[in-house]
Amino acid sequence: MSAIRPLERADLPAVAALYADFMGWDPVAASAALVPYYARTMLDHPYADAEIPTLVYEDDGDGVVGVLGSNVRRFVYRDRAIRVACGGPLVVHPDHRPRGVGALLLRAYLAGPQDLTADDRAIDQAFEMTRRLGGETHGVASIGWSHVIAPAAFAVAALARRAGVERRSAGLVARAGALPPRRSAKAPAGVAEPLQNAALIDLIERLRRVFPLRPSYDDAYLTWLFAEMASVNVDGQLVRRLVRADDGRPLGSYVMYVAPQGIAEVIQLAAAEPDVPLVLDHLIHDASSGGAVEVRGRFEQYLLPALRRRRCRLVPVDWALLHSRDPELLAAVHGGRALLTRLDGEWWLRPRPFADAADS
């Protein structure tokens, strides 16, 4: 009988073939990169959890025809250890989509023992399925923000994206980027320094009263995380900084991808609300120094006042979805008392088997 079961190592070639087919890649050529990638991110992840595994749907006749990845994160809520599960990617062979295989995989995943399920890269169909299975929209985080650093270069880059000639227009964007920026290039107060694992762990502990629901990082996990993020590198160079006040006090941190002549994508900005403006100033200054023409991120409650003051515009992003049987956890997220960002999701997890392949 067809059934849903945990992913096994022997399934990896079939899973890679499913994803390659979904992306329109040559399955044989892509497999060499995708199999080890999925082994790293689905089976050998530092927080891989046998109770919340990646799920596959095995059809009697066709074998593995669907997969739903599981990315487990360790969090704490007040002093209680909790498990946050980020499901994705969800890929089903086209012949089996009408049979509801995707819905059954998602239903099985949401029935797992995790305390909270959070998806930060859901397309419209997953959005509908999750809501019908009792999930809900993380409304604020389903909206993106954009801050234009260099208006002339931004306009050229946007036109090039629309025309599909980004590479050929890189020189033009660079020349436009040499025009005066929107704001002074003067460095903000305080100091931004490379973000070390211990500093991020310490910072989040300092923010425990601001964010009762927060990640519970350790050095081994962060080492794995940042190495994996750097290797994915789909959106530019990975940049991570700790921002200190002039007196040396840590105020906040940020992690982002910076694409020269392109977009700087914010993955996480961690700071208490009063300190967000200065940390954001450093982030934008850093992105500008790296050649980005625009900074983008998703809204979080604690970012709203600072982003509002900067008159950031709204941009579409993927759906952010939540599911939990614990209303207190959901209330913490919706009430802005959670540090639950793209760093702890699967937004950045995008395999790239070919140097010039389009990302997902």
Binding site: S2, A3, R97, R99, G100, A103, L104, Q125
Partner: protein
């Protein structure tokens, strides 16, 4: 009307209410008729569980037994101690 026929009728009514479609016949294959896709299936599973106070299998959900009102009624009859009082 037998218990089985009454249960099938209840399931057909539920399908019509949830899917907003008319079930031509209790034996109609809803998938083959194009009445069920992924989203509809999710709604139907959830509604059947709520209506009959049962938990349908998670890992071994046999889709081939969930294609008509008659089949769904048979699944409910297996899982519900007394589907008529649920």
């Amino acid at each position: 009307m037998t218990d089985s026929a009454a249960l099938t009728s209840r399931v057909a009514e539920l399908i019509e209410e949830v899917l907003q479609v008319e079930v031509p016949d209790p034996g109609t294959d809803l998938v083959a008729a194009g009445l069920i896709d992924s989203l509809v299936l999710v709604s139907l599973i959830t509604e059947v569980e709520l209506e009959f106070a049962i938990q349908l299998p998670i890992d071994e959900f046999d889709l081939s037994r969930f294609r008509s009102a008659e089949q769904i009624a048979a699944v409910v009859a297996e899982l519900a101690p007394d589907p008529h009082v649920a």
